[in-house]
């Protein structure tokens, strides 16, 4: 019925499918596997795949190599000549972190911003999703449709009045505007997705708890929350990366160096020191290290969260 809804309904079968006991099925699977291999071994097909893989890897690799080269080398020779112009240094990272880049303090800001901006919206969304899924009340469907519809409002539309509100409350020098705006902008999608997962819990389980005399709060904490852990993990990773990688909210609500997260700091560095590649290359990788670690270690959850939440923004 919806964009994100349909994304959720997409069969997410990247993980290995449970082993079937039917041997004929396994056999067919193997045959298809073999056939796929022969198909890719056609020179055109593998050629195209390799070209795409290279195009998608080389740019990142080039900047990565550059970040370890001495500044003089970076400015005078391409990174692909690194074998003939050898030179290796950690100094770029030192400079970017605490020297002229000063990214260390921005890294801390990112960290301070991201935790509440993940915990608060997910907790609120879980409560709301529970109410929409398992509490009967008048106007429930209407309210849910309203929440769903708010997903399509681009955050640009809300920024100016929201900023006025924050200034009126005297919050503009604190992290509160960033936390609150990430919460607000994350809520519609979070509620919608978590509601879908809540709905999948069998009614009989919830009914059984109700018969035992559990109220809504107990059912929420004892019955539903443990069942939803994988869904929560997937969405938490997604929200985490969204907040860490965000530029717009950071520029608008955390403009001062005291609050600015690392992504915004790097973007600014690119504008003011566009030719200082020793600084930019190391800085870029400092800003990317957290997403990369999350990506490599939690790839499966991340992909699941992305499949479910691709429309955020």
């Amino acid at each position: 019925m919806s964009m994100s809804g349909s994304a959720v309904e997409l069969p997410i079968t990247t993980d290995a499918t449970p082993e079937e006991k039917v041997t004929s099925r396994q056999l067919k699977k193997q045959l298809r596997l073999q056939e796929a291999k022969t198909r890719l071994s056609s020179p055109w097909a593998s050629g195209i795949a390799i070209i795409i893989a290279i195009l998608w890897t080389i740019p990142t690799f080039g900047l990565f190599v550059t970040s370890f080269r001495p500044p003089a080398e970076i400015a005078t020779s391409g990174w692909w000549t690194v074998l003939t112009n050898p030179g290796f240094t950690f100094e770029n990272y030192q400079n970017a972190w605490s020297g002229s880049g000063g990214l260390g303090s921005f890294f801390l800001n990112s960290f301070v911003i991201v935790l509440p901006a993940v915990v608060i919206p997910i907790s609120l969304a879980l409560l709301a999703a529970y109410a929409f899924a398992w509490i009967d009340f008048k106007g429930r469907d209407m309210l849910f449709v309203a929440v769903f519809a708010l997903q399509i409002v681009p955050i640009q539309v809300a920024l100016i009045p929201l900023q006025t509100i924050f200034v009126n409350f005297g919050l503009q020098n604190s992290f509160w505007p960033v936390w609150i705006s990430h919460t607000i902008f994350g809520l519609p999608l979070a509620i919608f997705l978590l509601h879908n997962f809540m709905k999948e819990v069998p009614r009989s389980i919830v009914e059984a708890a109700r018969v035992d005399g559990a109220g809504h709060v107990k059912i929420f904490f004892i019955v539903l929350l443990p069942l939803l852990i994988p869904a929560i993990a997937a969405f938490a990773i997604f929200q985490f990366l969204w907040v860490w990688n965000d530029l717009l909210v950071a520029l608008v609500f955390a403009p001062s160096p005291n609050l600015k997260p690392i992504t915004a700091a790097i973007a600014q560095l690119s504008g003011t020191q566009g030719n200082q590649w020793q600084l930019l290359s190391a800085g870029a990788f400092i800003s990317m290290v957290v997403p990369l670690v999350v990506f490599v270690s939690l790839q499966r959850y991340f992909v699941r969260g992305l499949l479910a939440g691709g429309v955020k923004g």
Partner: protein, 347 residues
Amino acid sequence: MDWFLNPTSVSDKLIVMVVAIVLFVAIMGLILWLIDRPGVPNWLVVVGFLGPVTIFMAVGLLYPAMGTIYRSFQVSAIVLGANGKPIINPKTGQRTSELTFSLENYTKIFTDPTFQKVLINTVFWVLLVPIVATLIGLVYATLVDRTRFEKAAKALVFLPMAISMVGASIIWKFVYDYRQAGANQIGLANQVLVWLGLEPYQFLLTEPWNTFFLIVVMIWIQAGFAMTVLSAAIKAVPDDIVEAAQIDGATGFKLFRKVTVPTIRPAIVVVITTVAITSLKAFDVVRTMTGGNFGTSVVANEFYTQTFIQGESGVGIGAALAVVLFVIIIPVIVYNVRQMRISEEMR
């Protein structure tokens, strides 16, 4: 209370972060504790679960959206006194101005050549990024499907999706780096040109093609998303359909075009519309790589420039641009919802 509203030291920041989370948990805990007792009416339970969210969304999304739409129809005009001269505010010594109703913001966006250029650029972004990214994602997902190195191959293309658009922009800014002819190139793109015996080229400065070199970056970012979703869809194509087609003699490209693509059509629609909306709303690439200069601005970037850099005079235009973004998104979503309805009915 200074650390609470204006934290400056490392410890202040960490403390205020912990306090924020604890405060939130305490308030929510109190609310839930209050409604979790026998005899509490159902409506009060609903308020406990939904109240905070409703307030956040009404105050933080609905009300601001209304405000922005309202503001987009206002321009700042100087108040004239009875004598036809501007009224000077005695306190500030400046002319007083007031906001009056006007369509001027919108007429300016659609008639001023600078803004027309912004709109045209946006159209290229919204068309090219989803189409090319989906095409590449689909081809790649098909080619590496069920091969031995599938996982690693997919991770490579997916990686740009995990890093920020700012990071991706810096990676590509380096690829596009320009040095004068004769000097050693340090950007790979220009080195390739030199290897081919061509002159180095100012990829980011030369209009009108620079917009397309920015679009390349967005395609590079979004292809991973397209590939992941489409790969999941391809794996869900039922075996019997594929086998039936194979018995009928379909192989290779024909199988792909006649069986795979029609079967995963709903997923393709989702990917195209999702990527289209992402590229419409994202301003990170333009902001980081050119700042919207050299004729590369798009609506999302111009919104930011007008609203937050231009100052008071740009706020109305910025509001109108935000509304334009909103209005373009609606038909895309409606199309998407209708397509999903159709495919659900067919099931």
